[in-house]
């Protein structure tokens, strides 16, 4: 439990809080990238190099950009007049607090039985590759199919229906 962990945890939580609380939608998206970055660094802190870089590449390089693009395309960066929170915000907050309470209780309650620090595993990219092609070939294929269909789906969803418009 190092000093680095506290800093990264604070960064992540602050980023995600800002992402949820800020008024300006673009600021939310930018705060979200801070949260993603914090998470990626936490992954690195957990010796998951590959996952960490993948996190940066995918989340900061793609998802965050997608989010800001969506915000711009939907002209969502202007703050709406009648507040940014939903009518049922109190209910939502209560539910979230309850969930956190339960999770926190569960984690702290089982803290005793959780394993302690072990030696850092040496994981090379090669190992990951071998594992992907070997043991995890089926999930890999499924994810590949999923990604392809998601891509096609996203394209179809976002595509202009030109014939209809004209």
């Amino acid at each position: 439990m190092s000093f680095v962990f506290y800093i990264l945890a604070a960064l992540t939580v602050a980023g995600s809080l800002a992402a949820v609380l800020l008024k300006n939608t673009v600021h939310c998206a930018l705060a979200l990238t801070v949260a993603f970055l914090g998470l990626a660094l936490l992954f690195l802190d957990l010796d998951a190099q590959f996952a960490g870089f993948a996190q940066i590449l995918v989340y900061i390089g793609a998802v965050a950009i997608l989010v800001v693009f969506a915000i711009l395309l939907t002209r969502g960066s202007e703050t709406p007049k009648d507040g940014v929170f939903s009518h049922t915000w109190l209910v939502g907050l209560v539910i979230a607090a309850a969930v956190f309470a339960v999770l926190g209780w569960a984690v702290l309650g089982s803290a005793r039985v959780l394993p302690h620090e072990t030696a850092a595993p040496v994981v090379t990219v090669r190992d990951i590759g071998v594992a992907l092609i070997g043991r995890y070939i089926l999930p890999l294929e499924i994810v590949a199919i999923l990604l392809t269909s998601a891509m096609i789906g996203a394209v179809i969803v976002a595509m202009h229906d030109k014939e209809g418009a004209k």
Binding site: L73, R75, H160, A165
Partner: protein, 392 residues
């Protein structure tokens, strides 16, 4: 004038050749940007109010007048000769053809004759002007396409040589003020003609160089082919003239139609475009440069000796008979006409310039609608205007 004035568009009378309306596809608002007057590619003070849907142009309204100085009013207050240097400042890239058009109009009004040698000199200078205008216009066009100025610099390198010739003969590089009613101001010495022959001999090499650099370039083709199409019917109806008209496939070259000066002595062809787009305008200018070079070669070979000024011509203080005249020439940018009314006084009663640049801009919106913002500057560049002439 903001774009709100465009709402009137629906009330426009039927039957006229109006720009086809492009409807935004309904999502989101239009992005309205004012391109100019401080925009890198509007050649001085010019503004286009553009409404964009995404990057597609929905409306485009040119706004003129930033350089307006009422040249015509000034000319009504001074004598016929006094307007000659002002014509230099119309289309300041080609002052000599402006001189020529004005001299031609006054000669029509007064019925003066021009000596043969002066006619030859006029043709030589006019065609040199055409070459340097087309070269720099191509340079600017490609510059607008983002080519970091290389073609422009090559064009200017060649233009420099031509301007040196102008300076050597007329005393000024751009504001030549050379032609007079009934001839030319000074005679060209033999040394100048030799220098001109040398420059003209180098011009085909330059055109070849630009050809190799650009004509086959895939990026240029992709950017310009099919962009800014101007159908011939519209071009004729909208009074478009010059290389732009010929790029729209209309065979109309005033040098061939009016036979003004001595153009019927020279052997040259009129290139025509079949696709009516920006690439055609580029290519027509390229091909016209080659034709101009051929005219230059012929003229420099045949130029006779003799006076350059009509002996009867008066420089100042002449009073033409009451009447009017419209004289026009094929300037590099299109039909440049001067319309003069004389009331018998020493000043013109009415002096009107028919500016090809302004009238060619009539169809700017038609060509731009539905294309990209990036194409707007390209189409605008392919019209080849000079603001000095548009706003006068």
């Amino acid at each position: 004038m903001s774009l709100s004035g465009l709402e009137k568009e629906k009330d426009r009378p039927e039957g006229w050749n109006r720009p086809r309306l492009i409807e935004p596809d309904g999502e989101g608002e239009l992005l309205e940007i004012a391109m100019g007057p401080h925009h890198p590619s509007t050649h001085g003070g010019f503004r286009m109010d553009v409404a964009l849907d995404g990057e597609r142009v929905i409306r485009l309204k040119p706004v003129f007048g930033y350089l307006h100085r009422n040249h015509e009013k000034i000319a009504e207050g001074i004598g016929y000769l006094g307007s000659m240097p002002y014509t230099d400042r119309l289309d300041y890239i080609c002052s000599l053809t402006n001189n020529w058009a004005y001299a031609l109009a006054v000669e029509k009004l007064t019925g003066q004759e021009v000596p043969e040698r002066a006619e030859y000199l006029r043709v030589i200078l006019g065609e040199l002007t055409r070459v340097q205008n087309h070269a720099s216009s191509i340079g600017f066009l490609i510059q607008e396409m983002g080519a970091s100025g290389t073609p422009l610099m090559y064009a200017f390198r060649e233009r420099e040589k031509i301007l040196d010739l102008f300076e050597g003969l007329t005393g000024s590089r751009m504001m030549c003020n050379y032609m007079r009613f009934g001839g030319c101001r000074v005679d060209a010495p033999e040394a100048w003609l030799t220098a001109a022959r040398k420059v003209v001999a180098g011009l085909p090499g330059f055109v070849d160089e630009v050809d190799r650099l650009l004509t086959g370039n895939e990026i240029l083709m992709a950017r310009t082919q099919g962009v800014g199409v101007l159908p011939p019917e519209l071009a004729v109806n909208a009074g478009v003239t010059g290389p732009m008209l010929r790029a729209s496939g209309v065979n109309y070259d005033i040098r061939k139609v009016d036979h003004y000066g001595i153009y019927d002595r020279f052997n040259f062809r009129v290139p025509l475009g079949d696709h009516w787009d920006v690439y055609d305008r580029y290519m027509i200018r390229m091909l016209e440069m080659r034709e101009s070079i051929s005219i230059l070669e012929q003229a420099l070979k045949d130029i006779p000796a003799g006076p350059v000024m009509d002996a009867k011509a008066k420089i100042r203080g002449f009073r033409p008979k009451p009447g009017e005249a419209y004289g026009r020439i094929e300037a590099p940018k299109g039909e440049l006409g001067f319309y003069l009314i004389s009331d018998g006084g020493p000043n013109p009663y009415r002096y009107r310039v028919r500016p090809p640049s302004l009238i060619n801009l009539t169809v700017l919106e038609d060509m731009c609608l539905g294309s990209d913002v990036a194409d707007v500057v390209l189409i605008f560049g392919s019209v080849d205007i000079v603001l000095g002439e548009v706003d006068r």
